[in-house]
């Protein structure tokens, strides 16, 4: 207590203040001499905490210049200031990290749009970057650009094997780390993290989607190119051979219903990646995407007694304005409104969908990709 009084009254104490974006200098990147040998280069980047631990492509001035040809924006233009260190994400720095990750030059506009999306207030980047949650930024690419860049929307779309999926997600992670300052074990305070923090990117399977795609649902034209950023806590496989819509929704909702996540505590924004087969089953029974969301919202309500005692207290504090007094028998909806359950269709053959819980109070953001 004495320390609090001393700090309040002494004149020499200083505190940190976020920089004003208007004052951010463009600051072109400096040249650094590095070993030419691939193995030594890898170790050099790792020792300076410039990489994610995987091998890197050297961002030479020539390779960065090739990437910069794919935007009309000036290299020194500040796209965003990224928390927690408020580093200036210039177009050039985004390109440098894209090269390191192995991106093709024409991926750059997607990463510029994703960087802009991450600083929307509702995304709550500060929380995503520094939380103890295993928060990864999942990129969803929509529109013709997804096919042009060959972002995988089919089999293994959340797995390995596609250059765009592997390197776009990795580049965004490096941007978070090298520009935003989210260094693992330092400002990135994740208790365990998750593999999705190496890369997490896919497109939507438009050919197999029986409903409107995500970007159209969010007000963009079908031919628009967009990228959506999601604060994602992991992937949970939903394997069921159900061929009846009600049976399928019941099982999916039951999978979503678990007491150890943030969605029920705050009223979140959980995601479903429905495989084409599951989407067909629902569509064939005449369900729209909105109706699927409504039924899942009803079926996934969870009795508050399933929460740990301390988590129930947190929920009572966080959702009192929305739900009134919350007791053990209160049925908690997973989101404030049914439309906050988000759905895309992706993947190949088979009966496996994916549940992706949301990172606390982060909300996904979709931005147009400027070509």
């Amino acid at each position: 207590m004495h320390d609090i009084a001393r700090l309040a009254c002494e004149s020499t104490a200083a505190n940190a203040q976020a920089a004003d974006p208007a004052r951010a200098s463009s600051g072109r990147a400096a040249l650094v001499e590095v070993p030419a040998d691939a193995g030594e280069l890898h170790r050099f980047f790792h020792e300076r905490r410039w990489s994610d631990g995987l091998p890197v492509i050297p961002p030479t001035p020539e390779s960065v210049a090739r990437m910069l040809r794919h935007t009309e924006r000036a290299p020194g233009e500040v796209v965003a200031l990224l928390t927690p260190t408020y580093g200036a994400a210039t177009v050039e720095r985004i390109a440098i990290n894209a090269v390191i990750a192995g991106c093709e030059p024409d991926y750059l506009p997607v990463l510029i749009a994703a960087t802009e999306a991450m600083v929307a207030p509702e995304f709550n980047l500060q929380s995503v970057q520094t939380t103890t949650n295993p928060a990864a930024v999942w990129l969803i690419v929509n529109g013709p650009i997804a096919q042009r860049l060959m972002v995988n929307a089919g089999g293994n779309c959340l797995g390995s094997g596609a250059l765009a999926n592997a390197t776009l997600g990795r580049a965004l992670r490096l941007i978070q780390q090298n520009i935003g300052g989210a260094q693992p074990g330092d400002t990135d305070r994740a208790t365990q993290g998750q593999p999705g923090k190496y890369t997490f990117c896919c497109a939507e399977n438009v050919e197999e989607n029986p409903w409107e795609p995500l970007h159209v649902e969010r007000g963009f034209a079908a031919q628009a190119n967009t990228v959506t950023v999601v604060g994602a806590l992991g992937t949970w496989n939903i394997y069921t051979e159900a061929k009846d819509a009600h049976d399928l929704l019941r099982v999916i909702a039951d999978t979503m219903t678990f007491p150890a996540g943030s969605d029920y505590v705050f009223g979140g924004e959980p995601w479903l990646v429905l495989c084409p087969e599951h989407a067909r089953v629902l569509k064939q029974d005449g369900l729209s995407k909105a109706e699927v969301k409504r039924q899942l919202w009803e079926l996934s309500k969870m009795a508050a007694r399933r929460l740990a005692a301390k988590d129930l207290v947190r929920t009572q504090g966080a959702r009192r304005a929305e739900l009134g007094e919350i007791g053990p028998d209160t049925l908690l909806p997973i989101t404030v409104r049914p439309e906050n359950i988000s759905i895309i269709v992706a993947g190949g053959e088979g009966n496996h969908s994916t549940y992706i819980p949301n990172c606390g109070l982060s909300r996904s953001v979709t931005r147009a990709v400027a070509l």
Binding site: I4, A29, L31, V34, V313, A318
Partner: protein
């Protein structure tokens, strides 16, 4: 460096700048003190104890306590406005 090449630095300098942004107080007597509770369990108990000390030992006239919806979100503008208008000192932190 033998066998070297030149690359561009991928790191952005941090822009958290240390600077004096508040007026130091001449003491706590007669002041209103605010707390932003980040909604972690037990922070409210800690604040209750601090409130008693501030009122009984330091001459603080009033303590205003406000709780966020949850730790990962910023305090809403309404709370920030209320505390900045009414308090000479605002304390935030985490209990657990």
């Amino acid at each position: 460096m033998a066998g070297s090449l030149q690359v561009l630095d991928p790191v952005a300098p941090g822009r958290n700048e240390s600077q004096q942004t508040r007026r130091p107080l001449d003491g706590l007597a007669g002041k209103v003190v605010g707390f932003i509770d980040n909604a972690k369990p037990n922070f409210d108990f800690l604040v209750d104890d601090l409130e008693q000390l501030l009122l009984s030992k330091y001459g603080v006239t009033k303590v205003i306590k406000r709780r966020k919806r949850g730790p990962p979100m910023p305090a809403p503008a309404m709370i920030m406005k209320e505390l900045s208008e009414q308090c000479s000192l605002v304390i935030t932190g985490a209990g657990d």
